[in-house]
């Protein structure tokens, strides 16, 4: 065996090193210094992230394959992993207060170990070029998450959320594997490129069924409608840090992996089969997610439905099926990470300080905690796509990408998505209204949030303000997407 192949997995190895340090630190350090575990893990993750950006994508300058073509990496893959790393850093920082709270002390280490393992699983999913590796990554990413969802042992909702999550995860994996078995029966291989070649000219009903299963399986992870039913309960019940992680990192990674699978294994059937499946899913996801979000009073449930509809917008980058779409999708994921984490940062801070998570509790927040209210407002505006915040740019670019094909169907799709942004603006404004306009007797008293929480929110707010206005970020994403190995699959 050629051990040099492992060098292709630099990013995974870096993550594993972080994992091992966290593990050993938790195991051998005295209890007092273990309180620094969140900081240690955040700093280590920050180093990995910085290395990813400053060392030329970990030296990944061209598409590389390893392990007989089962694993691949390339600038675009390295970039999406770096984007996930950024989100991971913010999540780690934001979780510090909660992780050091009373009931968590005994389980603090496990939380950080599990969260790093799931990220490792997502890395594998993104880099997989063989369905076996993909499934390993998928399971590695979803099973530890179930444990994380159940982390608040004392809370009933946390258990309920975990049960719902694990059952859906297992069920969706089963569906996904079912689809894979069909694919294997048709193509005789599980390598993406072999499937691509073998299916040439094979447009059978069997393939449609197989693709439907595969898309449904991944659709569960992405919580696309109609596979979204677990989302609200899980998001509500899970600890806020875990919900934040689920809603941004897990979603972003799966979305990109989804694109890789569809393009590299089934790219031939874009216009014949999966474009239309995705088309229907996007319309359903955006619309249903939005309509259900309107009625929510619990902030975490509210953001659950908002994140469902946001996933629909991310899918627009896949259905665009061009380099602009890929770049816009990566940018969207990046912006979404910052915006959503800003919102979850505020929710987490308020929950940790007062235990209140209902939207009615936010009434009059601006009078008592103006900074938190302001952060939340920026997050809401960015999620709704209001300029000059980053969300506006990501939405604009993803629509621009989708409209490049210039087909009437795409115009209809984008119009539906645009009308839905108005619906979403309505419910995002409800939060702003609660905080700035409404008044209440039992307003949340002024409090000072923990240092870690403030750092997390500052980072997120900086991202919301500058990601869009500073153009080189998006420019470089376009350059990476245009030269990526994915572009050879796109329609000309």
């Amino acid at each position: 065996m050629d051990y040099a192949q492992f060098l292709a997995m630099k990013q995974e190895i870096a993550l594993l090193v972080v994992f091992l340090i966290v593990f050993l630190y938790d195991l051998f350090m005295p209890e007092r210094s273990r309180r620094a575990l969140p900081a240690v893990s955040a700093v280590l993750m920050l180093i990995v992230t910085a290395a990813g950006f400053f060392c030329d994508y970990f030296g990944v300058s061209a598409p590389t394959e390893a392990f007989a073509g089962m694993y691949a990496t390339s600038p675009v893959i390295a970039t999406i992993k770096n984007i996930l790393n950024i989100g991971m850093v913010i999540v780690l920082i934001q979780s510090a207060k909660w992780a050091n709270s009373e009931g968590m002390v005994m389980r603090r280490g496990e939380f950080y170990e599990l969260i790093l393992v799931t990220l490792f699983g997502m890395y594998l999913m993104i880099s997989a070029r063989h369905f076996l590796v993909f499934v390993i990554g998928l399971e590695c990413a979803s099973l530890p998450l179930a444990a994380m969802v159940a982390f608040d042992k004392s809370r009933y909702e946390s258990h309920e959320a975990a049960i719902k999550y694990i059952l859906t995860a297992v069920f969706s994996s089963a569906i996904f594997l079912m689809g894979l078995s069909f694919v294997y029966g048709l193509a005789g291989s599980l390598y993406f490129d072999n499937i691509y070649m073998a299916l040439m000219g094979h447009n059978t009903k069997m393939l449609v069924v197989a693709l439907a299963f595969v898309i449904a399986g991944i659709g569960f992870k992405l919580s696309l409608v109609p596979f979204h039913l677990w989302t609200a309960d899980t998001y509500q019940g899970a600890p806020t840090s875990v919900t934040a992680y689920l809603s941004v990192i897990s979603k972003g990674a799966t979305a990109f992996a989804f694109l890789t699978v569809l393009a590299q294994a089934f790219g031939l059937f874009y216009s014949q089969v999966w474009e239309w499946m995705l088309y229907a899913l996007i319309i359903l996801t955006i619309t249903v997610g939005n309509l259900f979000a309107i009625r929510q009073r619990n902030m975490k449930r509210f953001l659950a439905f908002s994140s469902i509809s946001q996933a629909g917008y991310i899918m627009l980058g896949i259905i665009a099926y061009n380099a602009l779409g890929v770049a816009a999708m990566m940018f969207y994921i990046l912006v979404y990470i910052f915006s959503n984490l800003a919102a979850f940062g505020v929710i987490g801070a308020i929950e940790n300080a007062t235990g209140r998570v209902s939207m009615d509790d936010y009434n009059g927040l601006y009078k008592t905690n103006p900074r938190l209210a302001f952060t939340m407002m920026l997050a809401m505006f960015s999620l709704a796509g209001i300029p000059p915040f980053a969300g506006f740019f990501s939405k604009f670019f993803i629509f621009t990408g989708a409209l490049q094909a210039a087909s009437p169907a795409m115009y209809v799709l984008v119009l539906i998505a645009l009308i839905n942004t108005i619906v979403s603006l309505y419910y995002y404004l409800l939060v702003v209204k609660a905080m700035f306009i409404k008044d209440d007797e039992c307003v949340i008293a002024p409090f000072r949030s923990a240092c870690s929480e403030r750092i997390g929110m500052w980072i997120a707010v900086a991202g919301i303000i500058f990601l869009g206005l500073v153009s080189p970020i998006y420019d470089s994403l376009i350059a990476i997407a245009q030269s990526s190995e994915l572009s050879s699959f796109f329609l000309k």
Partner: protein, 519 residues
């Protein structure tokens, strides 16, 4: 970047925002608002003078044979922003934009004085100035992306301004206004991206730059039929086009004084300006073919708005519906697609902007004293507060078109132009739709007189309705500053219409009408 004078229209508000952040008491906040808006007025005056100089210099050069034609815009400059999508921060102005910039700076100035004693002044001015950043940015941009961005920047602060500082059913109005305007901008976004993808001939470099799009003239006919309604409706919502006008009465009625002034005075002009600058300018063929649909709609808003104003008893509602009627006239005139009517449309934008701002300022001042806006509960104001009442009469006379004030000039030009267009159509055998709607729209003058005189009669004259009102005071000095500055401008347009129509003429003269193929 800073050598271009136009960019300061965005920089000054941003500096004001930063300065507001440092303010500690209301005096400092007022100082920032007044100094900043004076700076904006000075800046727009400088731009105006330089612009006229440059135009006449080019004219002289043409006469000498060293130049061939007037460029469409002056002070143009572009800075690359998102290179892969060819998005630039491109600026440039012509006579129309300068007129709009003057208008906006004056109204921001008057608005600052009108909100002299507002509660929570820091936040209020923060949002108000953010709003005006969007407005100024919109008028100087010639890049569709930047233009659209500034457009939306100008819309969203309205929600908080109405929601927090408004009155009446403010929550409902704020949400309705925001959602309807953003709904319009959803159509607009689709239209703009569509324009971008058809902005260059096959294989050419796609562009967002308005001037280049017009030069390329490459949008296929079929796509124009789709993109023109998208953009026109998108901007038309902000221009209060029937049936998308319903946000305007509620929104204006609930908004605080300065916001009503700025919104009716300037923001609604964004709609008319955008319809003209983007929809008609880039897609003249479709404008020509589809104008009949929108003529009918705007014709309805002109008359319907005026009738509604006749039956309302709330002062702000009356003025809001009169805005619907007058802004409808702007769009109506633009759609006539001839030079006279379009000149009239621009004059109407200026005139309506100033006079409606004056109206809303006065209504705010009266409401601040009497705590009611119902005309049935007030009377005899002329005896109690003569200064404000006289101002109200002047605003009313301007609105119903008294010669010597701005309304007359604008409406006269519009109706003459529309009649020309209508007769031309009729004589050429293209039907009599334009002619009929010109006559219908003319009726609005009479209806305007009805609702204006009704308010003046009930509110200002007659017996004093409520004895508590006798103890009320007349205008304070800051209110006088606010109203006088507006009245001076209204009278200036009315007395020197030539200056303004010359300013606009430079634009209409060579560039746009060669594009429209109407000259």
């Amino acid at each position: 970047m800073f050598e271009n004078i136009l960019i300061y229209f965005v920089i000054i508000p941003l500096v004001m925002l930063a300065a507001l952040g440092l303010c500690r008491n209301i005096k400092q906040i007022r100082a920032v608002a007044v100094v900043g808006s004076l700076g904006l007025i000075a800046l727009s005056t400088v731009v105006l003078l330089q612009y006229l100089d440059m135009r006449s210099a080019i004219d002289a050069a043409i006469a000498a044979g060293t130049a061939t034609e007037q460029p469409a815009m002056l002070f143009t400059n572009t800075w690359t922003w998102f290179a892969p999508l060819n998005i630039h921060l491109a600026v440039g102005v012509d006579g129309i934009s300068i007129a709009m910039l003057m208008l906006s700076s004056i109204i921001v100035f008057a608005g600052s004085f009108a909100s002299w004693t507002i509660k929570q002044p820091k936040e209020f001015f923060l949002w108000l100035i953010l709003l005006s950043t969007g407005v100024f940015g919109f008028f100087i941009s010639v890049d569709l992306f930047t233009m659209f961005m500034f457009y939306e920047v100008a819309l969203i602060p309205m929600y908080l301004l109405i929601g927090v500082w408004g009155s009446g059913k403010k929550n409902y109005s704020a949400m309705k206004l925001t959602l309807m305007l953003m709904g319009g901008s959803a159509f607009l976004m689709l239209g703009l991206i569509g324009i971008y993808y058809h902005s260059a001939p096959e294989g050419g470099q796609l562009t967002w730059n308005l001037l280049e799009i017009v030069d390329n003239d490459a949008i296929p006919h079929g796509w124009q039929q789709f993109l023109f309604p998208m953009t026109f409706v998108g901007f038309g919502v902000l221009g209060a086009m029937f049936p998308f006008h319903t946000w305007s009465p509620d929104g204006h009625a609930s908004a605080p004084t300065a916001v009503s002034m700025l919104h009716a005075g300037v923001l609604m002009k964004l709609g008319g300006y955008g319809c003209f600058r983007v929809a008609i300018y880039t897609m003249p063929q479709a404008a020509h073919e589809l104008s009949w649909i929108f003529l009918i709609l705007t014709g309805i808003s002109v008359v319907y708005g005026a009738f509604c104003a006749c039956v309302k008893t709330d002062l702000k509602y009356i003025n809001a519906y009169s805005s619907v009627s007058h802004c409808g006239l702007v769009l109506f005139a633009i759609l006539m697609l001839n030079e006279t009517a379009m000149t009239g449309a621009i004059m109407q934008m200026l005139s309506h902007g100033l006079m409606t701002a004056l109206f809303f300022a006065l209504i705010g001042m009266i409401y601040g004293r009497t705590h009611t806006r119902e005309i049935t509960e007030m009377g005899g104001m002329m005896q109690i507060m003569p200064y404000l009442s006289v101002c109200y009469v002047i605003a009313g006379l301007a609105s119903l078109g008294l010669p010597g004030l701005s309304g007359f000039v604008a409406e006269m030009t519009i109706f003459v132009g529309s009649f020309q267009a209508g007769m031309a159509d009729f004589l050429a055998g293209h039907g009599s739709l334009r002619l009929v709607f010109t006559l219908v729209a003319c009726c609005s003058i009479v209806i305007t007189a009805v609702y204006i005189l009704r308010v003046v009669g009930k509110l200002l004259f007659g017996p004093v309705h409520d004895d508590h009102h006798r103890s009320l005071t007349d205008a304070t000095w800051w209110e006088r500053v606010s109203t006088v500055s507006l009245i001076v401008c209204v009278a200036a347009i009315g007395c020197f219409p030539n200056f303004f129509s010359n300013l606009i003429k430079f634009t209409f003269d060579p560039a746009i009408f060669s594009v429209l193929g109407l000259k």
